[in-house]
Subunit: 584 residues, 2 copies
């Protein structure tokens, strides 16, 4: 039967517990946020012994449901001070689910800073092993192979890099991809620092042998739903094989968002970048094709994905530079730093993978360093040198490794594109109002994946919406609720493109969840459950000291016009407050 | 007649305005907090164009009232994000008052960062002059003499050092003392960075000629009050000539607080310091006497002070090292960093004066650097080297110049003794509960001067109170109200020692205010006006996003016992919330 694994890093104990009745139907963000709300004091120090870090696969993760390999990681964020859930693809979610572990809860911390452990979990149980010194203090491209040597090539590894070891607030948590690269990240919110503060270098998940797997209560309903969802994914232009994501990757958005004037350039000074085409998904595809070697688009980040939007980007000689050049990453290091060279963005992303950093926050942080006069826009070599400061652990590296907001504070920079301390991603809210609502009222700081209104505002998914329209309360709320549900399900958020346009796919998605759990949910449960998750998260934040004063975009976006449309963020504060006004 | 001087740094204009009726009776913190509340958006960026900085002398400042030379400086703090008032002695308050200027309001900011101006104010008006490059980028011990050369030896100068020019959140604002040293500070809350963000290097106040002076409506009442207050100050053991403060300076507290087990040592790990006697007021007195030369205690920081608690501390050869070695400064750089050498603390304080930094925040920040492994407790040479990093503007210096909280965030240190981002001063709240209430609920972050319950808890002023008693709601509230009134009056807070014990002194203090204003206040007005000031400030903070979750001491103080009494901070949250519960 499904169980919870509780790991106490103070006492260095592991214990399996029965899943409390109230958590029985929960998965992913739903259960991580609930455990955090139930067990963590909202005013605790995020890096102190009072915080906890929770790992949970989604409801359908580990089954044959398509594109459902997500693992959620939750706790109180050292970057934002809010509750946080960040999820990742890669190999860990499905293996954890198949071991019958509903959630891993890690609490306490070693008395000595720098005392590191590895948690090994397999079908026979769990144990804490002292981390070898050879695994510490170096890049993950060096550490991960050593861990696979030690624990076998078929385990999954959830690990932190030196950024996490140094408790930097931009430390992400890494999950290996199917080829065991340290390349998939639960990146945002600094949860790598929380894992580091627990003295936990890595979790090794070994599902060898005959693990219990994910029980499916209503197999027939599950199969019906799975078929409908798969059909939708295979039919929709964005998600189908040979479709936009599969062919060009997420960076297919570069030209689209740039054309719409919402592609933040030179630290949010312009909505269009003259070098956009050179960092676009089309260019990634062209380079992968031309250079050959290992280069490829259409790479899958976890087994069972039918979208396969990842890529492996080659050096000029065809050898591997990095996987993966995502839209948000080529934006943050590219347009936002004035860099129009994929070989440079690729190297910068590789350094994030190596050090264990979130690419969005890291790129925006480099832009902050540029604002502070430490570099120039467009200077790729200097951007790379700044990233090495983080790796080298210099004082400047410690500043940059803590993200954009701290960097601006340290250097007295006012023009800081963050909300609740987290960097605004690759869609300028002045030109695309709905995503601005998402950024402002998210329970986790600025985060496009919290309610991806880009789908209707830019891509016409579920019907095209005017990007400049400010009256989007219902749309914003519905996207946030739906997203919270998807984050609970274990599905990749990208299934939304298909199921928002194809009703049978939407119904199928819900049926797979009901099939696993034995519930009789309808599509109405998406909103009900999503709202419940967000209500819980907002209550945590309120107790942590957040108010509507924090549900705001940076001041400069309200008075500084963004070319080419020369627009400011003009969604009234009252509108922002209305989205969840029935919840508080 | 009294007027308000409004200075716009965007347009570079100066204009005199009539004092609005609602501000007529106000002075000091009362008027700075009101103008900030009326004119500054609580959610503005503290270093952006939306913040303002307000300078105002107290109600009786500039009259013959004793020990009343304070000037208040208010705005939104970049250190805490709250409203802030910080006040200073020195020469500026009285001269500003005599010019008939009720307040200077500085708003806007130059388009170009690094564009610096000097505001000159005299009886004929005010003008903005471009700052000479020779005044910028160097220590104030070099800059102040150049400014006095330029504007005459008899002006007062309110200026910022390189910390303020660099917009560091621990930048204070300097006021010259009677011998024109850059030695008196409105230090806390980073208001020097706000002044720097306005492009204002200094305000030159020249009261030569025949300025209007401070009108006194009821001269007889004023004189009566002044006499009663002066008699009280001359009679009380703490404030009288030859009394504790006059003989030993504020560092007379070192042995007292150390004996009580409330002297934070090694970053709040102990309540007693074995080296306490070596950094005590008694030792300062002994060294000043022994070394001779310019060394002296009983130095006055502004004309008309009858307490004269300042000192000039000599080098071994009798030449001047620094003025002034205050209790909080010798504590922050001394016991809290494990340093027991007044020559070292003196040099560290001198560097603060030179760079334009608050000594409390700077000392606690050095302790944070020690926590981060950058130095060892007790290593004075290294502490001095770290302070030079701030002066040199290195990345590490930028970290340290922004104060304790940022330093801990950058280096992943959890044990950070701050409230609302401001360092806790020289009284451990675990051993002295009332001052813990002050720290927690202050509208301005941890600040002993916000409600100096040390008077009853340690010194027996107004009746001795048990330091460990947690039930101090009324005491805390009364001290906070009374302090807000004194901060409005222009009197130095140290008059409180006398007037809390001597009722005629208290009445006299109120009579001097009524004499100036033509009001008929009684001692009851102290609480009424003090409460009104605090209510206003709390409303600003609430709109800025502060809640009771921020009215808390650092988490570690609730579970980590402080020797020698082995006590934690055990004042219940409910008690903290009750102090101002009638106000919100």
């Amino acid at each position: 039967m499904s169980k919870i694994l509780r790991v106490n890093m103070t006492a260095r104990t592991v214990a399996f517990e029965a899943v409390p009745e109230k958590y029985k139907e929960m998965g992913g963000r739903w259960i991580t946020s609930n455990i955090v709300c139930d067990e963590v004091s909202p005013t605790c120090h995020p890096l102190g012994p009072g915080n906890k870090i929770v790992y949970a696969a989604g409801i359908v993760t580990g089954t044959a449901a398509p594109t459902s390999g997500r693992i959620s990681i939750g706790g109180k964020s050292p970057l934002t001070g809010t509750i946080k859930e960040t999820n990742s693809g890669g190999m860990a979610g499905q293996k954890l689910a198949r071991l019958g572990i509903k959630a891993i809860v890690v609490e306490g911390q070693p008395a000595e800073k720098g005392d590191y452990w590895v948690l090994k979990v397999d079908k026979d149980g769990a144990e804490l092993l002292p981390a070898s010194n050879s695994w510490l203090g170096k890049g993950l491209y060096e550490t991960y192979p050593l861990l696979f040597d030690e624990f076998g090539e078929k385990v999954a590894i959830i690990g932190i890099g030196i950024a996490g070891e140094r408790l930097m607030a931009n430390a992400g948590i890494c999950v290996n991809d199917p080829e065991n690269r340290p390349s998939r990240y639960a990146g945002r919110g600094g949860m790598g620092a929380v894992m580091g503060s627990k003295g936990l270098k890595a979790i090794i998940i070994d599902d060898a042998g005959d693990p219990p797997g994910v029980p499916i209560v209503n197999k027939e309903l599950f199969d019906t739903g799975r078929k409908k969802l798969t059909e939708a994914l295979l039919a929709h232009d964005i998600t189908k094989p040979g479709g936009g994501l599969n062919t060009y990757g997420t960076a297919v958005l570069v030209n689209i968002i740039n054309e719409a004037g919402g592609f933040p350039t030179f630290n949010f000074r312009d909505g269009r970048f003259t070098g956009a085409a050179k960092i676009s998904g089309e260019m990634i595809h062209e380079i992968c094709t031309k250079r050959g070697g290992v280069g490829t688009t259409g790479h899958g980040c976890s087994p069972g994905c039918v979208i396969r939007c990842s890529n492996v980007y080659p050096k000029p000689d065809g050898s591997e530079l990095v996987s993966v050049q995502e839209y948000e990453s080529v934006w943050s290091f590219g347009a936002n730093c004035g860099i129009d060279d994929l070989d440079i963005t690729g190297e910068l992303i590789r350094l994030c993978n190596d050090y264990g950093l979130d690419t969005i926050e890291a790129g925006v942080t480099i832009a902050m360093a540029i604002e502070a006069g430490l570099a120039e826009f467009g200077d790729g070599a200097k951007a790379i040198a700044l990233m090495h400061e983080i790796g080298n652990g210099t004082p400047l590296g410690h500043i940059l490794g803590n993200g954009a907001a701290i960097t601006t504070n340290v250097f007295g920079v006012v023009r800081c594109p963050t909300v609740k301390g987290q960097a605004i991603p690759a869609y300028d809210p002045r030109a695309i109002k709905g995503i601005g609502i998402t950024y402002a009222i998210s329970t986790m700081g600025a985060d496009h994946t919290y309610g991806y209104t880009i789908a209707p505002e830019m891509l016409g998914v579920s019907g095209k919406v005017d990007q400049f329209d400010v009256d989007k309360v219902d749309m914003a709320r519905n996207f946030q609720h739906a997203t919270a549900f998807i984050d609970a399900s274990g599905y990749c958020l990208f299934i939304a493109f298909a199921i928002l346009d194809i009703p049978s796919g939407l119904a199928g998605m819900v049926e797979t969840c009901s099939g696993v759990l034995g519930t009789d949910w309808t599509v109405d449960n998406i909103g009900i459950i999503g709202e419940e998750i967000i209500r819980k998260e907002r209550a945590f934040n309120t107790a942590a000291g957040f108010t509507k004063a924090h549900d705001r975009l940076p001041e400069f976006m309200k008075h500084e016009e963004l070319p080419p449309h020369n627009v400011v963020f003009d969604v009234p504060d009252e509108t922002l407050d209305r989205v969840h006004s029935l919840q508080n």
